[in-house]
Structures are given as C-alpha cells and as structure tokens.
C-alpha cells in the first residue's frame, strides 16, 4: 500500500512539489497570487488591529461598553470566521468587500478579547502611581495603561494575524478571487496535487516571513524592556 501511495499522484514527492513551486514562480502565477493575498491581508489585518485594540481597550475601561458589547464580542469571537462568508456574499456579492468582511471579523474579535484581558491585567499599582502624578483621562490611557498592556496586546495581535491568514485562505477558496486560496482551488480542479502542496508550502513561508517581519522586533523590544524571555 505504501508503495502504491508512493507512486500515486495523490502523494507527490518533495522533489515534484519543488518543481511545481519553481514552475509556478517562473510563470508568475505564484507571485500574483501572493501579491493579491498579501495586499488583502495588509488591509484587512490593519483594520482589524486598529478596531480590535480600540474595542478591547473600550471593553476593559468602560463598564457601559462591557455591558453593552462584552457578551456579544465574546460570543461572536467563537464563531469560525468562514461562517460569515455566506452572509457577506448575500450582502456584498462575490466581491472584495465580502472577503474583507470575513478577514476583519475573523481577526478583530480575537484581538479585542486579548486586548481586553491585557488591559484588565495591568498592575493597578502602576495606574495608581500615575494618577498620583496627576495623569488622568486620555493621557493616563495612552501613556500608562496601553504601554503597560503592550506585551499582552502584541500577543493578541499575533493571534489576530494567524486568524486573518486563516480567514483569508478560507474566503479565497470559496470563490474566484485571485490569491493563494484560489490557486489551491485551481490545483484541485486540475487534479494537480503538486500545485496544492506547493501553495501550502508558500502559505507556510508567508506565515513565517510575516511573523518575522512584523513581530520579531517587537518581541525583542518587549524582552529588553520587561526583562522577559524573548520568544
């Protein structure tokens, strides 16, 4: 059985996958797909980050916001983001907007939940100390509470990044959209497992590269300041 699977086109050798990767890179399909996906991610993740952090800080600092939106945010954050796609398509058609809605809903809510937790766990003594120095209102929030919660907010941002990537791939899989998700679907359509695996390798590479570009420096800086272990 192993040998039959070994020769099967269903489980191609790493070499075949490599060849397919080079081929897709040469003819530009891979580059275009990565470009499209990265562009979407940058926008969707950017919006999620700003909105998620703002929502999280609001939930942690305002009792009214917590009572109004807390259960909703917690509840909705447990919905797999791809479940929003049918609704997004009904609302916005098979469009860029529909995919962005899925990415933003997928990433924003986990970021908000993590940020809320991080802000709640800020050492109250640090806030009290700042208040005795006369800091209050927005200054207290932006010069003390948010910096103090920063390590936790970065953890949330990382989590949000992986959620954004997952949501995007799922969204792109489901309709013709350009992007890596669609290239996966193309591979399935033409029965080319080497292409499917080549795209998966590309997604892994994209994930690692973006993590390194976006978060490695932040992690080092946090470790330097807080004296924690660098990840």
């Amino acid at each position: 059985m192993a040998s039959s699977l070994g020769n099967s086109p269903l489980l191609p050798s790493p070499l075949a996958v490599g060849r397919s990767l080079v081929h897709a890179a040469r003819d530009g399909t891979l580059g275009r797909a990565i470009g499209t996906s990265v562009l979407r991610l940058s926008f969707g993740y950017g919006v999620s980050l700003v909105a998620g952090v703002a929502l999280g800080v609001g939930l942690a600092r305002s009792l009214a916001a917590k009572q109004a939106f807390g259960p909703l945010v917690l509840g909705l954050s447990s919905v797999p983001s791809i479940c929003w796609l049918p609704l997004a398509i009904l609302w916005f058609g098979l469009s860029e907007t529909a995919i962005q809605v899925v990415v933003i809903l997928g990433a924003m809510l986990p970021i908000a939940v993590a940020t809320e937790g991080a802000v709640r766990q800020v050492n109250p003594l640090v806030v009290r100390a700042a208040r005795t120095m006369g800091a209050r209102g927005p200054r207290l929030l932006f010069s003390v509470v948010v910096p103090a919660a920063f390590p936790g907010i970065v953890s949330g941002a990382k989590l949000g990044w992986t959620f954004a990537l997952r949501s995007l791939m799922a969204g792109e899989l489901l309709f013709v959209s350009g992007g890596l998700g669609q290239l996966l679907e193309t591979g399935r359509d033409i029965g080319d497992t080497t292409l499917v695996l080549a795209v998966i390798v590309s997604i892994v590479a994209l994930g690692r590269a973006s993590e390194w570009l976006l978060f490695a420096r932040l992690d080092r800086e946090i470790a330097r300041r807080w004296g924690t272990e660098a990840a």
Binding site: N123, L125, V126, R128, A129, A130, R131, T132, M133, G134, A135, R139, S143, V144, P147, A148, F150, R224, R225, W226, G227
Partner: protein
C-alpha cells in the same frame, strides 16, 4: 558601591537645579474628623494634624488604616465624612504637589529610569530641556546617574526604590507620602535607605507621611510616631520623638523607644488574633512552667 560615605558631597546637589522655581517647602496636612468606610464594612476614623515640614510615621498592625490615610491624603480616596486639608484647602483629587512612593517601587517597566523620573514632569507640561536637567539632578541625588538608561528590571530592589523616591521628588512636591517603601528590602538596604530619606528630609524640608510596620524604622525616622489600632482603624496615640538628627542606625535611644512602642502594638495585634481565632486562643508564652531548680538568675 552606593557611595553613601560621600553623603556630604551630595547634600550640595541643588534639588531644584534646572527647575525655574525654588524648591517647594512642606505643607501642613490635616485630617479633620475624617472617617472612611470600605465596601467590605471595614472603616477607619482619624483626626490628625501634621505641621509643615514634619516627618510623621504611621505604625500599627495590618488593617489599622495606615495606607488608607495615605490614600486619603493623596486624594486617591475621598473621605466618607470629615475633610482632608492641605494648608487649609480641601484635597479633592491627586496632584503633583503630593507625591507617593509605594512598597513595590511601581516604576513603569517600559521606560528607562531616566524616563520614569521625567514622566511626572511630562504630565506637568515641563519642557524637554528642563526635564532632562531635573532628572539629571535627581539621579545624582539618589546616586543612580550611572543607571539612568537602565530599565527597572535591571535594577536591584533598593535601586528601584531609590528611583521611585527620585520620581516622587521630580515635581518638587510639598508632601511626600511613603507607603511601606522599604518593607520588601533586606535589612542592610533598608538602613541605607532610611539614612537617605532622613538626608532628603533634612535637605528639602518637605512634609513626609511614612507608613511602616517596623517600629524601629518609625522611631529612627519620625518627628512624631502615630500609633494606630484596629476595628475600627483609628489613632491610638501620638508620640513625639525628640531625638537629635541625623540619627544613627544602632542608637540606643531609638532602640529603647522602639521597644516601648512595640510592646503597645503587640497588645493590639493580640487583640485581633483573639478575635480572628476562636476561644481556644492562648497568648503564646503565657502558661510557661518554670522549673525552680533551673533558676538562672533574675537579671537574664
């Protein structure tokens, strides 16, 4: 290592160097028939007059309201009844003229020591140039200028606490509120920092309210010791400490007075212990049986 032997030099560091105004002298603080009740049902009552430029230590068992009094004076808490006054004016909110030092230094971990000291100045809207002059002078005052660019986690507990004192002095407050600032430090560091506080007090003439569990520390530092009791938290009595300054670590007068006050506090602590334990509580050491054949003499 801390260069405290050269304290004579450092007394020449002008505290208000770089500040446009002259150093602010201490303010009088009064708690006018103040009461404060917690949600938990615990409450404190206090009437206290602290003259300008005095160092007053609050001592007493946990739950006697020492920290609450400090928080009331800081403006972090509002009294349920009565008024808290600074130079006769009611205190309604925290402000830079009353600075606080906490048991845990509470330095901001994301800022260097220098930036930590400059933070209250930034809040007060002091210019960048003046901030840096002032932080430089304060870093020298507490002998930490070599560690200006270090983050709090890179400093020892004693250094962090000296940094916190420098930060508290940054806005040149009239009142310094110290909430068990040395409780987490080892005995040696503690004694060094007590000397530091006394030196800063003598130099700046600020009013200092100092909370501690440690009676020796209170007697060593205070012009007056306020002895507090529990249930409700209240002031039992106030003792003047008329010993000359600066006071030495092992001063016998300090020790004698401290022992006297400690005995009084013990009675108070035993009262709580009896209430918290059940009827079976026995004061430790009370029913000791003495064997007359092993009399070692009365003087021991």
């Amino acid at each position: 290592m801390f260069a405290f032997a050269k304290a004579a030099d450092s007394t020449e560091v002008p505290l208000a160097e770089g500040a446009s105004r002259s150093p602010r002298a201490g303010a009088a603080i009064s708690l006018d028939a103040v009461a404060f009740s917690f949600d938990t049902g615990a409450s404190i009552e206090a009437h206290l007059e602290v003259p300008a430029g005095q160092l007053v230590c609050l001592v007493g068992p946990s739950g006697s309201g020492k920290s609450t009094i400090l928080n009331l004076v800081a403006g972090l808490l509002t009294p349920t009844r009565g008024r808290v006054l600074e130079n006769g004016a009611p205190i309604t909110a925290p402000g830079p003229e009353r600075a606080m030092v906490f048991q845990d230094a509470a330095l901001f971990p994301w800022l260097t020591l220098r930036k930590n000291i400059e933070y209250p100045l930034e809040v007060a809207g002091v210019s960048r140039a003046e901030r840096s002059d002032r932080s430089e002078a304060l870093l020298r005052l507490v002998h930490l200028h070599r560690f200006a660019e270090a983050f709090p986690h890179q400093l020892s507990g004693g250094m962090r606490q000296r940094g916190a004192i420098a930060r508290a002095l940054a806005t040149d407050p009239a009142v310094l509120l110290m909430d068990e600032p040395f409780a987490a430090l080892d005995a040696q560091t503690r004694e060094i920092l007590q000397a530091e506080v006394e030196r800063i007090f003598l130099e700046t003439k600020k009013t200092i309210l100092f909370v501690t569990h440690n009676v020796r520390e209170a007697v060593r530092l205070a012009d007056r010791v306020v002895l507090m009791g529990t249930r409700p938290g209240r002031i039992l009595r106030t003792l003047a400490i008329p010993l000359p300054r600066p006071r030495a670590v092992g001063d016998e007068h300090v020790t004698a007075l401290a022992n006297e006050i400690a005995a009084e506090i013990r009675t108070e602590v035993e009262k709580i212990a009896k209430e918290e334990a059940d009827d079976a509580w026995v004061v430790p050491g009370a029913p000791v049986r003495v064997d007359p054949r092993r009399n070692l003499g009365g003087g021991i």
